[in-house]
Symmetry: C2
Subunit: 665 residues, 2 copies
Amino acid sequence: MSLDPSRMAPMANAIRALSMDAVQAANSGHPGMPMGMADVATVLWSKYLKFDPSAPNWADRDRFVLSAGHGSMLIYSLLHLSGYAKPTIDDIRNFRQLGYPCAGHPENFLLDGVECTTGPLGQGVAMAVGMAIAERQLNAHFGDDLVSHRTWAIAGDGCLMEGINHEAIGLAGHLKLGQLIVLWDDNNITIDGQADLSTSEDVRTRHTSAGWHVVSCDGHDIADISRAIEEAMADDRPSLVACKTIIGKGAPNKQGTSATHGAPLGPDEIAAARETLGWDHEPFVVPEDIMADWQTTGHRGVEAHSEWKSRLESSDKQDEFKARMGNVGDAAGRAIEDHIRGLAAEPQKVATRKASEMALGPLTEALPQMIGGSADLTGSNNTKTPSTLPFSADDYSGRYLYYGIREFGMAAAMNGMALHGGVVPYGGTFLIFSDYCRNAIRLSALQEVGAIYVMTHDSIGLGEDGPTHQPVEQVMSLRLVPNLNVYRPCDTIETAECWTLALQTPNTPSILALSRQGLPQMRGQDDGEWTSVTNRSAKGAYRLKGADAERKVVLVATGSEVHLGAEVASELEAQGIGADVVSMPCTELFDAQDAAYRSDLLPADTLKVSIEAGASFGWERYTGLDGLNIGIDRFGASAPAGDLFKKFGFTADAIVPQIVNKLNG
Amino acid sequence: MSLDPSRMAPMANAIRALSMDAVQAANSGHPGMPMGMADVATVLWSKYLKFDPSAPNWADRDRFVLSAGHGSMLIYSLLHLSGYAKPTIDDIRNFRQLGYPCAGHPENFLLDGVECTTGPLGQGVAMAVGMAIAERQLNAHFGDDLVSHRTWAIAGDGCLMEGINHEAIGLAGHLKLGQLIVLWDDNNITIDGQADLSTSEDVRTRHTSAGWHVVSCDGHDIADISRAIEEAMADDRPSLVACKTIIGKGAPNKQGTSATHGAPLGPDEIAAARETLGWDHEPFVVPEDIMADWQTTGHRGVEAHSEWKSRLESSDKQDEFKARMGNVGDAAGRAIEDHIRGLAAEPQKVATRKASEMALGPLTEALPQMIGGSADLTGSNNTKTPSTLPFSADDYSGRYLYYGIREFGMAAAMNGMALHGGVVPYGGTFLIFSDYCRNAIRLSALQEVGAIYVMTHDSIGLGEDGPTHQPVEQVMSLRLVPNLNVYRPCDTIETAECWTLALQTPNTPSILALSRQGLPQMRGQDDGEWTSVTNRSAKGAYRLKGADAERKVVLVATGSEVHLGAEVASELEAQGIGADVVSMPCTELFDAQDAAYRSDLLPADTLKVSIEAGASFGWERYTGLDGLNIGIDRFGASAPAGDLFKKFGFTADAIVPQIVNKLNG
């Protein structure tokens, strides 16, 4: 099966030629990295990577992550050359053009074989950590026969310099993820120039201090690359393979400089590179013999895939395995029914973070896919359940990750786990620290994965910890992220409903914004026969209570302010002013309803009042400019929650007169 | 001057007593850290820290940063005991209560001596790095006589585990900031339990691999602490002093466990601790002799301060030094006049990132306080000018930082520099990576410092790099942060105006959201005599062009969409439909105008249309529900900018018919 090493140099040059030509055609892009890492990638794909181009989503394939995503032409070249259906050569000719899948940075939703969307530096490695976690977790249950693959990542200096790298390698080293191998493109070049303009770090020692195995090689010497990769594969720690490379290798005048990093080489340098590489073929033409060599690289994987299928078919865990790889939405709806019906019968006043824990009980019991965790706030986020035992280096069968104080690393790992498949990750931190992992949340949304963020302590209601810890703008600002559902439930039942919805959107991530403080149960009367079909949160907003007197006001509230809305309504009714109370746990779902539903809930001719203990900017969408927006447009303060709600005007006494004035004015 | 070491134990116990009693009184807080680090802090303040309690803002004081901000009772105790006017014992009794300065986490705007707001983990150390940078930069110019002080930080396991720590120590090590000393509270406890639940890292080796000096000590042995600190002071690298401590030291049954971390000890354990510590005083009572010892700790600093004042008075740089410590707003306004008047005479079509560079030319030439930098995107952010030479370990006189691929570390360092005083930091990255440093931007706002973020590539207009790099929600989401001005200028002149405004708000940070692509100059006609007083951007929005025909429409646009707004207006006018064009470079400043100005610009009875290539959510504030919001509520795509603007409907051809329909409908 193995290729003659001497045939790998032209194979690598095919990557170089496609990369420089595609970047030139697009007149933008990054040729330096693909040209520098062409040899390493060729060795990896030819000799070690387990993949089947005809079945790119085979569950037991190796995962390959191009963490240095700006070098996207590397992976497009690899996928094309090794026989994936896409990208075609026409796709590559149209690199970075509208309607074609070869985007500036690799997008998992555009091409099979692109395991994750990369480009935001550092996150690829962190997602690879998550993939390696998922692999070990499934392996612990299904065994080597069904689950045993490696995760590979190519990372540049930028990936290693980003803070998230510290979190990612710390977690991987602690968990002894020996199936994870990071190939470092050690070229000493960043955009601003030589890397030593901004760093003096000993990268190798930093990795060993985090529990990693480190091996170095000449990234342009086929045999040396093989030796290093084999050493990495043999070690039971996660490995860093430091590949000494020359950025833009092959471009005789520009190689080794930042000039090759992020701009086309230009026609003259490309001509010179063709000369240097001995590549006399037209742009986008790969000779048949080289193409044929590339097509053999997938053969090992095709064979392995076939053997795996036989093992799966004869396995007594076949059905379970297939079920594990499927969606959990329906099962989630069934698993939560008794819990909600129980709450309908016996209402409970608890914080919604506690309500979340209560919902997680039956959900994690019924759904083995669910893997929880917290960034060192387990007891505060209420994320651990009896079904989720610790996942550790000593026991990969666990379903609970102590992520440590690593919010960004956690979120990116969750993305990797979700992308891997077979697991549904949820993880907790304080809502304020969504700021720390915000771009990973964005990548959940962009990559269309159903990661679930349990974000507690969601307003000034957390009290004494003060403004550094009190979200003011976070709820609203997260609502702005496309394809992200932000839930802010008001009580035990809404919390359970929102959990169910979060599990029912495998292609949309969810944020659960939950209170620290106890909240009265607002729901229950009509929930004795609750099913997924009656899930009132599913429309994003609903009329919790209709006006008794003639309706003059609609109060729209979320989360911990819904019970306040009900108090305000009740005082208004006492004055003969009819008021609806609308609970709006998810604006995104509400916005997706038809106009009739929306205008029935928020009629044009009625005073609409929003109540949310956060930024008021945005609420005009629901109240219009002639409504009232009760919000907080400054930082919070440190004091007991009750004092703060009073100070910031979140009491019926403070709100009712404003409404009455407005009605009279 | 030196205290007898044997007298330090009771001094440290005073910290322990105040901390456990205050947390108990508040019924919330973190006693473990102050009790664990009491000995280290006592040694530091008694023997090494240079401070003058009667002049807390003395420019040449040492800076003390409590990075582990949850242990806030440590700094409140230190400030109170050592003779600062605040906090009083009554303030401490009212720890975490409304209206008192002893907040749950230390807030720089509530107490002198609190150099920065901490609590969001990791950022304290990163701000300390910025302070140490500012100190060296000023030292290079003003010499040891006027500027020579250390920066100290106390950090916990959490601070070191956060990703930002990697960025901060990498930068500090690279820049050889020998005046920076981090005291690590090495207690092996995090909230979830033993630190080794989530980490196996060799912290010491990681620091040495980043170019740090590391020394260890027994954090409860006065002599050993002194030895370690003195070794750290003698080394010319930044130092990590690993202080082996017992969390909650003194609480006999709970010390050494996470039970002391974030909850009151309870009356019984407090009684037991009093016994153990030999502390038989009432809560909040510190005996006179111990108080007297504490009051002597500031004497060294008072003396040093007096000597420093003499040196300043006899220095030929006295005036320059005082000017350097002052505000730059007026000078900025004058420095930019000729530039803007020149643009009025000779309009230029350039990207606003280039316009920013053009404005930075005269500004950085006139204002030595300005220190620029970029997170490895110097050529893309256009942040470097001829006046800003590199700041490096070899030359601290430079004014330009190659921050490396460390957005979060950069932003936090900028906060530290701004808090230090004498420098005005600005730093660049792509706007999308505001996500990476978002909480540091929030801390700029919360801490009321005038850091300036140069955030380029501000929309789909960046083109081919695709959705990972195209901000959609970032501009709007940053507008939600309290006390943060987000500027999105439309051309060369607005960019210069916004730069001036950013420099004129020393207590409010600014974001400059700038285009990658070239934009026509919209302004100039009335700017031939431009001064700060005529700065039209100062009101946040203004009528760029009034309607010719009877006004039916007001187009409100920002940044790269303003010229599109003008095109739309012109096509509407061609159909006899009068249309104003309002440029709104800063919504925050516009919202602060009086109702008359706002309604004059956005009259109630006219169709209002917002045009911004980003999230539309929020624009209802300016258009009402019966307006039109032209925005992007999905992720972008990879393609040339022109193709994308067309695809997403940002052309006059796409917008004009929508307006006409709306007017007719």
